[in-house]
Amino acid sequence: MKLSREEVLHIAKLARVGVTDEDVERLSEQLSDILANFEILQQVDTTDVPPTAQPNPLQNVTKDDQVAGSLPPEQILANAPKKEGEYFRVKAVLE
């Protein structure tokens, strides 16, 4: 099964990754090749097998609430591409 142009564009939109026509062409082939290698899993019987999200046996890890210092705003903002006062500046969300 080859991923269609529409499917690749749909995934790119979900992932918020801009793509060129050339990218779509290449990705449709490469992703299809990779997905073909996944079909092997459909032959595996996983009836009554629970999924594993992570391999260690920890569950419900909690810790006490403790007041502790945090980084000052100027350090948090030091890497910001755009800032205004103590805020990250973003483009308008609602227009």
Partner: protein
């Protein structure tokens, strides 16, 4: 000055006995960097002044008699680990100018011991790759043959150790990213049990698979670095609150009574004959050392591991890398008209091809209508793979496999064929899926190209694999061979 050739434990003896200062050792490594770096390109950032300052501090500590095995010893850190005030790029345009405001826990631990950071090591962008060719800046070259890849994604770390730019290095391993380059460069590389080392400050790729570990010149050094970095950290809720043993106590020449399994499924179609022969020789050596080897150990789900990995890792990556939106830090495309356009262009230009491929793959596997068939199915098969390891470890103390099916391949050879590139990790990624520890150690050469042996242990069984690795190393000379560069 040849001090750069020392191991950690050799350097420590000299530092302790005041026969060498940390500044001298650091300068020796920096001179070595100047000499070999133009050829191998292992480092993204060199921190000369900070290193000398750290070395001076270390010498003061040592003068006071305050010395631990890593005090004053130069290290190279993979550029995926946050270093406060030192840019941390993940070899990506996205983070080219990112300066973390905090240290990763492992970096904090090394600094508190008086370590000296030489620089940050090149890698495949966001640790996605097996050759270090996916760095957005430049490819790293294998010192054993400059036309070949060093492996990846911790290729810069492995090369830095192999060429003595640093005395040791830290890497990260999601599907083989410490072990495969260690094998390709003939150094020692350990991926600890999932949860053994804190991931706090490790830029996330696939959170249920990622672990930080050492790359070193020998097994003793590996144990020393593990002593320093392992342990619970309340800033990583997946780190396990289990006491850390003194790993150097596990190093023994005596392997009598140990049971080893060689899973036949790891000798895959397409495995290079020289690799298979080297492994057979290594296994014979392990038998001579008193182990009992079963060459018919069974891990029947192994052929499914590649598919499981390339569903789970990209899925987790697609979620983890959603944070790069051009707002809080990193590359940001400013010329866009709208918020969505800015985000899409930021990610289009900020990420390289392989990273975008994996984000797309993971997004697809998690998307409506495909989640059950891909992601959930992969998680279930992951359970089966883990169960098989548990069953194997009821019978064996450790498992032995090649680290990679081939010797280092040529630069460019697999760059345009992702599936072929992924196969390079076929022997290492099941270990991350199961969350167990694995170590790669030098086990021979094909001509002058290194071959690695992987030793796999049960969860928190680092001591057993270090013991096997140490005894083998003491009985062989492979680790003493250095690339002629």
């Amino acid at each position: 000055m040849t001090a750069h050739r020392l191991t950690i434990h050799e350097a420590h003896e000299l530092l302790k006995n005041k026969k060498l200062s940390s500044v001298e050792l650091t300068r020796a490594c920096l001179e070595r960097v100047e000499e070999v770096e133009p050829k191998v390109k292992a480092l993204v950032t060199l921190t000369v002044e900070a290193a000398i300052k750290q070395a001076e501090e270390a010498d003061k500590r040592i003068a006071r008699g305050d010395i631990k095995p890593l005090t004053g010893v130069p290290v190279v850190i993979k550029d995926v680990l946050c270093t406060r005030g030192i840019r941390t790029t993940c070899s990506s345009r996205m983070l080219e100018n990112f300066i973390p405001p905090y240290d990763a826990t492992v970096v904090e631990k090394l600094n508190s011991l008086g370590a000296v950071t030489i620089g940050k090591a090149n890698m495949d962008e966001f640790a996605m790759g097996s050759s270090t060719e996916h760095s957005a800046f430049f490819a790293t070259h294998n010192p054993w043959d400059l036309d070949r890849v060093p492996g990846g994604s911790s290729g810069g770390s492995a090369v830095a150790v192999a060429t003595d730019e640093g005395i040791y290095a830290l890497g990260s391993d999601t599907g083989g990213s410490i072990r495969q380059p260690a094998g390709f460069c003939s150094v020692v590389g350990l991926k600890p049990t999932y949860g053994r080392v804190s991931r706090y400050g490790l830029v996330a790729f696939a959170s249920s698979l990622d672990q930080i570990g050492p790359l070193t010149k020998d097994v003793t050094d590996c144990a020393l670095v593990m002593n320093a970095i392992a342990g619970f950290d309340n800033r990583d809720s997946t780190s396990v609150p289990q006491p850390v043993p003194d790993y150097t106590k596990a190093l023994s020449n005596d392997l009598k009574g140990l049971k080893l399994g060689v899973p036949k499924e790891y000798f895959v179609k397409g495995m290079q004959a020289e690799v298979e022969e080297a492994l057979e020789e290594a296994i014979k050596k392990l038998e001579e050392l008193g182990t009992e080897v079963d060459r018919e150990a069974a891990l029947p789900s192994t052929p499914h591991a590649l598919a499981v990995y390339y569903i789970i890792a990209p899925s987790e990556a697609s979620a983890n890398l959603a944070r790069y939106d051009g707002v809080k830090y990193g590359f940001s495309y400013q010329e866009a008209g709208s918020m969505w356009e800015a985000m899409e262009k930021t990610r289009q230009y900020g990420f390289g091809e392989e990273v975008k491929r994996r984000i797309m793959l993971g997004t697809y596997a998690l998307s409506a209508g495909y989640y059950d068939a891909y992601y959930l199915k992969a998680q279930k098969v992951r359970t089966l793979i883990r169960r098989e390891f548990d069953q194997a470890f009821a019978k064996y103390d450790a498992l032995i496999t090649p680290t990679s099916p081939t010797v280092p391949f040529k630069l460019g050879e697999k760059l345009d064929d992702p599936v072929q590139m992924y196969l390079s990790d076929v022997c290492t990624l099941p270990i991350n899926i199961a969350g167990v520890p694995g170590i790669s150690i030098p086990a021979g050469f094909d001509g002058n190209l290194p071959i690695g042996m992987q030793i796999i242990g049960k969860p928190f069984g680092e001591e057993a694999i270090l013991r096997v690795a140490y005894a083998y190393e003491q009985a062989t000379e492979w680790h003493k061979q250095k690339p002629d560069i």
